[in-house]
């Protein structure tokens, strides 16, 4: 079953009927959004009814995803449009995994929203439309290797995110955060488009598989290096913005602090995960294009160094900046930058070990995202409840939490220590698996770059201990006569479930979870990386020296083959 089958043998209708079921999760999500928008006409715009529809939609999407996951277990497919190497959208283990994570997290965030904001929400349908709309965009982000679809998906994920950050219209901090978010988003989007147009101009295809093959060919042959480097950097700029990799991270703390806490929780995990998985998919494609593990062959090495260095800077800056924060929301925002940095490290592993063996880097990041989901949901959940009860998100508001509400303090402790990455919590396992991937020569790691990354990662663990412990210290070691924190039972249940899961992930259920990640990291859709038909250009232009920036489409053309 391969989507690249020649379509001339079947009608468009037949193709649609065959391929649409693969995309049932997205369709279910679209249906949910439409239902949420239409339902107010019939049953009013109450929080309860909207949330019910959304929850039903999330569950249906999850069921659809699980069904699709079985279909694509052994091989990814690509379809929904004609293309020379692959279709517009991809369905494989990576996308189904992400959609599962997305839906679990959407459910968790909805629960948070239900207890924190549902009562005073003025426009629940709009909130859920934006939330699920961004979810749809994010799921499309990891489902494509077509340059154009990719650009649309990134923007599709971003636009609702901007709006949802500023959802409380009268909140100044939210508006400020959203404005920064929009401006950064717009710039990075422009740069991304520029990079994409360069790539299209160079290779005259939108298929990233073919582009990857051609890029590596050019890089190793020393042709078009400036144009290619510029294009790849621009592409990375766009993705780095989503990941909030340093130096594209300035929007992140402000947007995270300004947004409502449910929204912050939402953006902190899945939005970054989407960017990371997209980057990993590109890395995978480049790995495929570079052939099975030959790290001596340098074309990918330069790319690995760029990503590696940015990863190092990202996690170091994130951790160091977090140290001086007094707002827990902001602190967790910087912590999310740092964790994105850790995960970004794995993106520097360019390797392809065959279709059916799991991609070690991807498996490590998938595990990390899964663990990160629970520890972040727990930490943000507790913060949310402290904010609702005290009206403040400063570290000071956590003083003596162990006495004021033990069922908030314990999960918070578990999640924070897990975020540091200490056993026996899940964060340790996640970090260790990441380091194991980095050090694994069979999987493409183990080079000096990767060992430097390992050393930077463990030193960062040490730095991060400081600021996570500041909250722990405030909760456990200090106390004054503050009143107890009243928290909704459902919210307590949510954070305690997260706390227990984080603890169990640390020793009891490592095996099933790593197996789970491995299973979803194998059998990815593998695009064709060679161009069947290469359009010859009439004029031969010497590649680098005559690079003409006034006309990027022509400036970097390859020399036609003789």
């Amino acid at each position: 079953m391969n989507g690249t089958l020649a379509i001339s043998f079947e009608s468009f209708g037949e193709q649609l009927a065959r391929e649409l079921p693969w995309f049932s999760p997205e369709l279910a999500l679209v249906g949910t959004i439409i239902a949420i928008l239409i339902a107010p006409l019939a049953i009013g715009r109450s929080s309860r009814s909207t949330a019910t529809i959304a929850l039903v939609g999330i569950v249906v999407t999850m069921i659809c995803t699980l069904r699709v996951a079985e279909t694509v277990k052994t091989a990814g497919v690509s379809g929904l449009a004609p293309a020379e190497a692959g279709g517009l959208l991809i369905v494989d283990n990576l996308t189904t995994y992400y959609k599962l994570i997305l839906m679990v997290f959407a459910a968790g965030v909805s629960v948070l929203w239900w207890y924190g904001a549902a009562d005073r929400e003025k426009d629940p349908p709009a909130f859920f439309t934006l939330l699920l709309g961004s979810a749809l965009g994010m799921s499309l982000m990891v489902s494509s290797l077509n340059l154009l679809v990719l650009i649309i998906a990134i923007e599709f994920a971003s636009l609702p995110s901007y709006a949802i950050v500023a959802f409380d219209k009268r909140d100044r901090l939210g508006a400020e955060g959203a404005l920064k978010y929009v401006i950064f988003g717009a710039i990075s989007f422009a740069v991304l488009c520029y990079g994409a147009s360069l790539l299209y101009g160079l290779y005259q295809t939108l298929d990233l598989g073919i582009i990857a093959g051609a890029v590596l060919q050019d890089l190793s042959a020393g042709e078009n290096q400036v144009a290619v480097a510029l294009a790849l950097l621009a592409l990375f700029f766009g993705i780095g913005f989503k990941i909030s990799a340093v130096p594209f991270h300035f929007w992140c703390p402000d947007a995270f602090q300004g947004a409502r806490i449910e929204v912050t929780t939402w953006l902190s995990v899945v939005s970054k995960a989407a960017g990371l998985l997209l980057l990993l998919r590109l890395v995978h494609v480049f790995g495929v294009a570079a052939g099975p593990v030959q790290f001596e062959a340098p074309p990918t090495e330069a790319l690995a160094w760029v990503i590696g260095i940015i990863a190092m800077i990202t996690c170091t800056v994130g951790n160091l900046s977090a140290y001086v924060q007094t707002s827990v929301k902001r602190l967790l925002a910087y912590s999310s930058i740092a964790h994105a940095g850790y995960m970004l490290m794995a993106c520097s592993i360019f390797a392809y070990t065959g279709a059916d063996s799991p991609n070690v880097a991807l498996s490590a990041v998938m595990l990390y995202i899964l663990v990160y989901l629970f520890m972040n949901l727990g930490a943000f959940g507790v913060t949310a409840m402290v904010v609702w009860a005290t009206g403040s998100d400063s570290i000071d508001a956590f003083t003596g939490l162990i006495r004021r509400s033990v069922w908030l303090a314990i999960p918070m402790l578990f999640c924070l220590i897990s975020l540091v990455g200490l056993p026996p919590f899940g964060g340790f396992v996640a970090k260790l698996w990441l380091l194991l991937a980095l050090a694994n020569p069979e999987a493409g790691g183990g080079t000096p770059l990767h060992w430097i990354l390992i050393i930077v990662a463990v030193l960062n663990t040490l730095i991060s201990l400081f600021f996570y412990l500041r909250i722990v210290k405030q909760m456990m070691l200090r106390d004054d006569e503050r009143p107890a924190v009243q928290a909704p039972v459902g919210g307590l249940a949510l954070v305690n479930v997260c706390g227990v899961v984080v603890l169990l992930l640390g020793f009891l259920i490592i095996q099933p979870v790593t197996d789970f990640a491995d299973r979803y990291a194998a059998n990815l859709f593998t695009p064709s990386v060679t161009q069947q038909v290469r359009v010859a250009e009439p004029e031969a232009v010497d590649a680098v020296s005559t690079l003409d920036f006034s006309d990027p489409l022509r400036g970097g053309r390859m020399e036609p083959e003789s």
Binding site: S357, S363, P423, P424, L436, G446, L462, L465, L477, T514
Partner: protein, 575 residues
């Protein structure tokens, strides 16, 4: 009679106790905790039956790679996490190296638990009695686990599990600068353990390299075995005859040490780590060494210890001094030396130098202290210097002395800390110069105190003496190998004099002299206090009089085998 699960029971009994503590009624929490740690103590006594009867290790040791270093008893191993290209095992076992330390841990933990009953003031002011005992018991599980874990990953987990309870035990129930002391402890130890983590990754992947290279070359080590109808090609285990073949990297601590393929790969001087200029074995050794040296602690890494000791509540100081410091020494003997013997030789001078400096510097610092507890803390640094020196010279006597010194210090230092705690409970200060004549007001306590401090001083007939003498003799023995060994032994011997100096001066200032009126109404040590002190006092005497029967018999076999093994590895790699 060897039971596979007994170690697991002992290690996790305190955890079970901790869970029970969570749900027990408030009044009986402390009894639940005491019973849990007593249960671990009693059960650990069963292990004596294994080690009784003429020493361990030599008899029945499996004959592989010369002599494997000692037979491991009560082994329980089962796959824990099986990844695509690695296997992490739950692998626990006990040998002559870990046995004395394991027993020490259960003993010290139990009496520290009883000593916690005294913290009544803390309970009335801060409450949290339940949390205290839960954390205490979790800490005990971590400590016991470290001594029996034989899989590096498992070892690392237990090692780290201790951090958080300790942080809270110091940070919540400590003295006035508790927050500073707690974070300092946490940070130092974590710094050491992240280095250990790098070593863990390095050792795993370089052992995988070694195995793969050996299989590819198809030398004599390559064995074929039929498992479930499939032929597996791999390398025979270094110490398990007929065990499963190695086909990739391993986390098995014994395999690292005993497998000739891995040893040749690790020990080769041509082997580099990451970069051409970084030799593999010395780098790994150093990464591990720093991790353990922080715990031991020896001089450049020792600054956390006085703070942690002074601020920690008395029972926690007992645990810290009695057990946690020993993990450093245990780590040297379990990981650094057997796995990287060539690197041990490479670094011998530096290590011995650090040891000697610790001895002298610790003693001088102790002499300058006016705080009772800080004095005992610095004396620990000095005593632990002997451990490092004894190990660094790699002689039989040195190893035995180092091990004995660890146990002896594990008995004398908790006793000293408790002695300080007893007087602090009454006087509410620890200024040495403000005390005087306490022996007159509290005769029983005074006698115990004198005995405890003399044991720490190393008076012949008490436990501290044997370890120090063995270390000094062992260092002298090494003067044929190392030119510096003789002078170092002499300098270290001066440390003994300094120790005598500060301890005698301490006893004079605190216990002797005229009874001061402000301390005249101090009550004599209570039965509970004597119940904690007496066992340590008895052990101090018994170990001092019968060192062979109480300790050397249990561990010499293992230590001899280990040394023999080190020699063989050095010969193999050198030749």
């Amino acid at each position: 009679m060897e039971s596979a699960s007994i170690l697991t029971w002992i290690v996790f009994l305190p955890t079970i106790g901790a869970v029970l503590c969570l749900f027990a009624p408030k009044e009986i929490v402390k009894w639940v905790a005491a019973i849990a740690s007593a249960a671990a103590l009693v059960l650990s006594m069963v292990l004596f039956s294994t080690f009784m009867g003429g020493g361990d290790g030599g008899d029945g040791a499996e004959k592989v790679f010369g002599q494997a270093y000692g037979k491991i008893h009560h082994v329980l191993r089962t796959d824990w996490i099986v990844g695509d290209n690695f296997t992490i095992e739950y692998f626990v076992g006990i040998d002559g190296l870990s046995f004395p330390l394991f027993i020490l841990t259960t003993v010290v933990s139990f009496f520290a638990c009883v000593a916690s009953f005294n913290m009544t003031k803390a309970w009335t002011v801060k409450k949290g009695e339940r949390a205290y005992y839960v954390l205490f018991l979790l800490l005990e599980t971590g400590m016991l686990g470290v001594f029996v874990a034989l899989d590096f990953f498992l070892f690392y987990i237990f090692w780290e599990v201790m951090l958080l309870p300790m942080y809270f035990l110091i940070g919540v129930w400590g003295g006035s600068r508790k927050e500073y002391a707690a974070i300092k402890f946490f940070l130092f130890t974590l710094a050491g353990s992240v280095l250990m983590l790098v070593a863990l990754l390095g050792m795993y992947f370089y052992s995988a390299d070694a195995i793969h290279a050996a299989i590819d070359q198809g030398g004599t080590e390559v064995v074929r075995q039929v498992v479930d109808g499939e032929t597996v090609t791999g390398i025979a285990s270094g110490y398990r005859e007929g065990g499963p073949l190695l086909t990739g990297g391993t986390f098995d601590l014994l395999e690292f040490a005993t497998n000739p393929v891995i040893q040749k790969h690790f020990g080769s001087t041509a082997q580099t780590f990451i970069w051409e200029w970084l030799p593999f074995a010395p780098t790994m050794f150093m990464l591990l060494f720093i991790g353990f040296a922080i715990k031991l602690p020896c001089v450049p890494f020792h600054t956390w210890l006085p703070d942690a000791h002074v601020e920690a509540p008395t029972p926690i100081s007992m645990i810290l001094a009695g057990v946690l410091l020993k993990m450093g020494g245990y780590g040297f003997l379990r990981l650094c030396y057997p796995i990287f013997p060539t690197a041990a030789e490479f670094w011998a001078f530096l290590l011995a130098l650090i040891g000697v400096v610790s001895i002298i510097y610790g003693a001088l610092c102790a002499m300058a202290q006016t705080d009772f507890k800080k004095l005992v803390a610095y004396s620990s640094i000095s005593h632990m210097g002997f451990v490092l020196l004894g190990i660094a010279v790699m002689t039989r006597t040195g190893f035995q002395g180092a091990m004995f010194q660890m146990i002896a210090h594990g008995i004398s230092s908790p006793m000293c800390f408790y002695l300080v705690g007893v007087v602090y409970d009454r006087a509410h200060h620890r200024e040495i110069n403000r005390f005087g004549g306490l022996w007159l007001t509290m005769p029983k306590y005074g006698s115990m105190a004198t005995l405890g401090f003399f044991a720490s001083l190393g008076l012949p007939g008490l436990c501290g003496f044997i370890g120090e003498v063995y270390v000094l003799l062992g260092t002298f023995e090494a003067r044929d190998t190392y030119a510096w060994a003789g002078p170092f032994a002499i300098i270290a011997a001066f440390g003994v004099i300094l120790t005598a100096g500060y301890i005698l001066w301490l006893i004079q200032r605190v216990y002797l002299g005229k009874a001061k009126p402000e301390y005249a109404d101090f009550p004599e040590a209570t039965p509970r206090e004597l119940f904690v002190l007496a066992p340590f006092a008895i052990l101090a005497i018994v170990l001092g009089v019968l060192p062979k029967q109480t300790l050397f018999n249990f561990m010499n076999g293992t230590l001899d085998l280990m040394l023999e093994h080190l020699g063989q590895v050095q010969a193999m790699i050198g030749g």
